[in-house]
């Protein structure tokens, strides 16, 4: 069996790649995709720790996180579509009304 530490390391690399995506992408949908990547990195760490401790609690938590992700995507994409209708753009640099 592959040790838990390798799964956690893979999860860390996945999280870092997602962070790079959030920093470099300029379209709201693609930033959202990168956030999904980071969410899945956290899920992978939870599942790996569930095996390390032999506890099903973490797997239950991952199930709830997946449902939350579905709700988050539904709301987030609805917001993006609404913004696109008003502005014909989802570039996050154009949506800067709240800056000081």
């Amino acid at each position: 069996m592959v040790g838990t530490e390798w799964y956690i390391a893979l999860s860390g690399v996945l999280f870092a790649i997602g962070m790079i995506g959030v920093m470099t992408r300029r379209t709201a949908v693609l930033i959202f995709l990168s956030v999904e990547l980071m969410l899945n990195a956290a899920n992978l760490a939870l599942v790996a720790f569930a095996r390390a401790w032999g506890d099903l609690t973490a797997q239950t938590a991952v199930f709830i996180v997946m449902t939350l992700a579905a709700a988050e995507v539904a709301i987030g994409l609805a917001i993006i579509v609404t913004i696109f209708r008003k502005r014909a753009s989802t570039n996050v640099d154009d949506l800067a009304e709240l800056k000081g």
Binding site: A16, R25, L33, W53, L56, T67, A71, R85
Partner: protein
């Protein structure tokens, strides 16, 4: 043998993630994420989480990614997505920061020692079958379970309210496709 599977799956996961982050076409990025999610589902199966592997494919790679692809098609799939960043050095900064974060997390992770033999922990998971996970979900975590179902309902209603068009708004019709009716042509 399991080490071989792990390496193959890790390569698939990281390749898909890099495509998601780097691809200049939004549809390619979404398909890269699908590859990552399916490979993650297989990784869950190697971690004795069979139910989660199935849910990952159905919910994530299925439902959520279809929603993403729909929205990408609906908006602007063909435009360059990393076009002119106002901060010129952000790509280098992100690569540097990402490499530092990945290195730090990797080093911390590789220092982890399993608290007990892995076979013992894997046996306690009972293969992560729907029965085992569902038993935990509907006994110890029944309140979060119900809360999540209410949250899903709120999300569905909320997204409908958000994208619902006001009925009397003729300017919302795209100008490139004017609505022609036979009556107007005759008048």
């Amino acid at each position: 043998m399991s080490a071989f599977f792990f390496v193959v799956l890790a390569v698939l996961i990281i390749t898909g993630a890099l495509v998601t982050v780097i691809a200049s076409n939004a549809v390619h990025a979404a398909l890269g994420l699908v590859a990552t999610l399916v490979a993650l589902a297989m990784t869950y199966v190697t971690l004795d989480a069979h139910f989660l592997g199935a849910v990952q494919v159905i919910v994530y790679a299925g439902a959520i990614m279809v929603l993403f692809l729909f929205v990408i098609m609906l908006l602007d799939a063909t435009r360059p997505v990393t076009a002119h960043n106002p901060v010129g050095f952000v790509n280098e900064l992100a690569a540097l920061g990402g490499a530092a974060l990945a290195g730090a997390l990797g080093l911390i992770a590789l220092g982890w020692r399993d608290p007990r033999p892995l076979a013992e922990g894997a046996a306690a998971l009972r293969n992560g079958t729907p029965g085992a996970v569902g038993e935990t979900l509907l006994t110890r975590f029944v309140l979060p379970f119900e809360a999540v179902s209410v949250l899903l309902l709120v999300a569905v209603v909320g997204s409908i309210v958000l994208v619902k068009r006001p009925v009397s708004q003729p300017s919302a019709v795209p100008e490139a496709q004017p609505i022609e009716s036979g009556e107007r042509a005759g008048a």
